[in-house]
Symmetry: C2
Subunit: 441 residues, 2 copies
Amino acid sequence: MPSTDLKFANADEHRAWLTRQAALPRGWRVGATRFEFQPAEVRKTAKMTITLIAPDKPVESVAAMFTKNAFPGAPVIIGRKRMAAGTPLAAIVINNKVSNVCAPNGVATAERLCERLGQLMNLEEAQILPSSTGVIGWRLPIDFMINALPAAVESLQGKSILPAAEGIVTTDLYPKIRRVELPGGATIVGIAKGAGMIEPNLATMLVYVLTDADIVRNQLQRYLEEAVEESFNCISIDSDTSTSDTVVCASTRAVPCPDLTAFRLGLFQVCSDLAEDVVRNGEGVHHVIRVAVGGAPDYETARAIGKAVVNSPLFQCAVCGNDANVGRLIAAIGKEVGARHEGLDLSGCSIAMGGESIYEGGVFHLDPDKERRLVAHLKAAEMYASVAPKDGLTFVPPMRFPPHERAVEIEIDLGAGDAACLVVGADRSHEYISENADYRS
Amino acid sequence: MPSTDLKFANADEHRAWLTRQAALPRGWRVGATRFEFQPAEVRKTAKMTITLIAPDKPVESVAAMFTKNAFPGAPVIIGRKRMAAGTPLAAIVINNKVSNVCAPNGVATAERLCERLGQLMNLEEAQILPSSTGVIGWRLPIDFMINALPAAVESLQGKSILPAAEGIVTTDLYPKIRRVELPGGATIVGIAKGAGMIEPNLATMLVYVLTDADIVRNQLQRYLEEAVEESFNCISIDSDTSTSDTVVCASTRAVPCPDLTAFRLGLFQVCSDLAEDVVRNGEGVHHVIRVAVGGAPDYETARAIGKAVVNSPLFQCAVCGNDANVGRLIAAIGKEVGARHEGLDLSGCSIAMGGESIYEGGVFHLDPDKERRLVAHLKAAEMYASVAPKDGLTFVPPMRFPPHERAVEIEIDLGAGDAACLVVGADRSHEYISENADYRS
C-alpha cells in the first residue's frame, strides 16, 4: 500500500518528514487548543483538545462516509443529516477524549457547540460538522468546550496541517499526514486518527482529506467511496468497529484539475497510505501484516478471508513472538470458510509467507531450514521488541515513530476464481493489553 | 452454567475434588503414557502423552460431533468416516503436542497407529477412534508413538478417569472433570481439553463423555447434539475455531436408565459445566464473562450478539483491568448489529452489568457511585491479578486451580423478541500474549 519505502532513525527525522508533508492546500486553515476538564461520570480530571478545520469560505464540494456501527455517535447522526441535506461545509470542529456516543442529549449538545462556534466565526451553524472521539458513554463537557472555543479560533493558520494532525489523536503514538501533488498544481493532504477500535466498516475513525483540486461534490463523494472501499475498509487492528468512524474529504476547488484519473489515483494513494499508517501506529503494534488474497470467487470472500487471518488472536500472537506458527494461519482460513463460505473448494489453495511456499496440494511443506527463513522474515518486519516495564506490569512502546515500512507478507491463492483483495492488519502484543486494560481509567 | 458454586483455596483442595469426580462409569478403562520425541519440522525435542479410553468390550452406543473448520485434522476426517459407517467403538487413542492437520500422509499415519493398537489389544482397527491436539502443520512422530503404545496399554485401569483428564491437556492449567449421577445408578463422567483456539463450531477441542446408562446410539447422538448446541457452541476464549474440535459420548449401557429426561438434563449439565471449565481455564483468563442475551428475534441472533461481546478485544482488555468501560460493550453490540443484523431495531435495548442498569432508552445511565459498584463487581469476579514476571516479559499465571466460580454477569435485553442465549467468554490478559507469542517454540 505505501507509496514509499520510508525509514526513520528517530522521532526528529520523522517529524521533519511530517512537517514537509504538512503544507495545506490552498484556501484551508486549521487550529487547535488543549484544556483540562471534569467529566460527570468519574471522579477525576481529564484533558481534551479541540481542533478546527476551516476553508476560507464555505465549500460546496464535500464528501463523507460514516461508521456502520448500530450505535453511532451523535456527531455521526448530525453528519449524516448535513450530508443528506447537501449543506456546504464552513468548518469542522473535532474533540478527542469524549466520543459523545449514546450520551443523554448528545445531539443537542453537539449542535450547541456548532451554534457557539458559528457565532464566533460568523458562520451558519448548519454548515459546521462536529466530530468526536474518545471514551464511549461520557457526556461532552460542553461548558469547558465553549470556554475553549475562542482560543481555538485564535489559533487558526493556513500554513501547516500538523496542529490538526496532532490535535485529533488519543492513544496514537504519533500524528499521521499523507500528501499527493497533482499535475496542474493541486494537492491532496490527509490526516488520520486511530490506534484502537479499528476494523472500519465504511470508514475509519476520524480521517480528514483536504484538497484544492477543482472537483464537484457528487464526483468527490463517488471517488471517496471508491478509495475508502479498498483502503480503510481493508484494515483491522482489533476487529472492533468504532461508533465514531468518519472520513471527510472536502475541496476549496481553488486549483484546476484537468486530469481526473490523476485525482482518483492520488486520492486512493492518500487513503491507502493513511490506512497503513493507522495500522502501523495501531495500539501495541510490533508487526504490520499484509495479506494478499487472490484466486477468490469474489472480492467480498477475498476480503473476509484476509480479515480472518489478521483478526485471529492466535496468529497475531505468533507473529508478535516472531514465531512462524503457520498452522494458525491455516486454522484462521479454515475457521472463516467453515463458518461462512460453505461450498468453497479449497483443494487448489496455496499459501506463501515472506515468499516461501508453506502449503500446497492439501499439505504443509515445512522443514527446519524453511522455518529459519520464515523467522528471519518475521524479524525483519518487526518495528520493536517489548521492553521489560519499569513497574513490572505496564508495557510502553519504546519508540514514538515508525522505524520502517516493512511488513509480514502473506500470499493466499484460493485457486477458486479471479477476485483479489489486499488486507492490512497487525500483531497482538503486551503493549496492546497494557494500553487497553487501563485506557480511560 | 455451573451446577455448584465451588471455591478452592489451593491446588490440593482442587485435586481432592477432581479425584472425587473421577470414578469411572461401569465398563470403562483409561490409561496414559508420556515420552520425548524429535519433530521433523524443527530442530529441538518435544514431549507427548498418549491417552487411551476403552470400554471392556466394543460398544455400539457412541455419538460424536466434529469441528466445522474447513481444514479439519486427519483424526476428524477418520472420525467422520467411522461415525457415518455406524462402526462400534472399541477404543479411543488420543495424543497431544501434534494435531496432525494438513500433514503429508496424515490420514494414513493415524490409521497406522490404530492398526498397531488393534494388534496389541486384539481389537478391530476400524473400531478405534484417533484424536490429536497440538501444533498444526507438524507430522505425527509415528515411530515414537508406536514404541510408546505398549506402556499405554499396560497402564489401563477401571477406577479413575483422572489419568486421561491429565493426559489430553496441552496449555491447560489443570485437568477438567465433571460428573452427574442419575436415578437408577448410572453415571455420566466427562473430561475436556482446551485452553486456546476456542470458539467451537459444532464441538470443542477434545471432549470425552463416558456413561454406563442404557441409551441406544441414535438417541445418544440426538441428546449430544442438543447438549452441545447450548454448551460448547456458546463459548469463546479467543474466537479461533480449532481444526481438531471433537466431542465424543459413548455408553457401555451397563446400567438401566428408566428416566430419559434425567439423562438429557444430566448430559447437558456435564457439557455445560465442562464448557465453563474450559473457559475458566482458558489461556490467561482472569475473569469469566457470562452474557445473557434476551429479547432477541431468534436464538442465532442472541448468540451472535453474545459472541460479539465476549470476542471484542477492547472489552476483554477492559474487563481484565477491572475497568467498567461499558462504552466498549455498546460498541461491540453495535458492531455486530451494524455488520450482520441490518434492520434489527435497538430502540428498546437495555443493558445491565453486575445487576446495575447501565443503558436504557437510548442513553447511558452512569455516575461515579455506579462506577464504583461496577468496579467492585469486576474485582469480585477476578480469579487472579498479573504478577510481574521474573524475566520482565513472560507472564505466568500465579495459580493452577480455579479459586471460585464467579463471573462478570452481563444482561442484554434487545427488546426485539422472545429468544435468548447464554454465552460464556473471558477477558484478555498479558498471560494470553505470553502463552501464545511463544507456545510451540
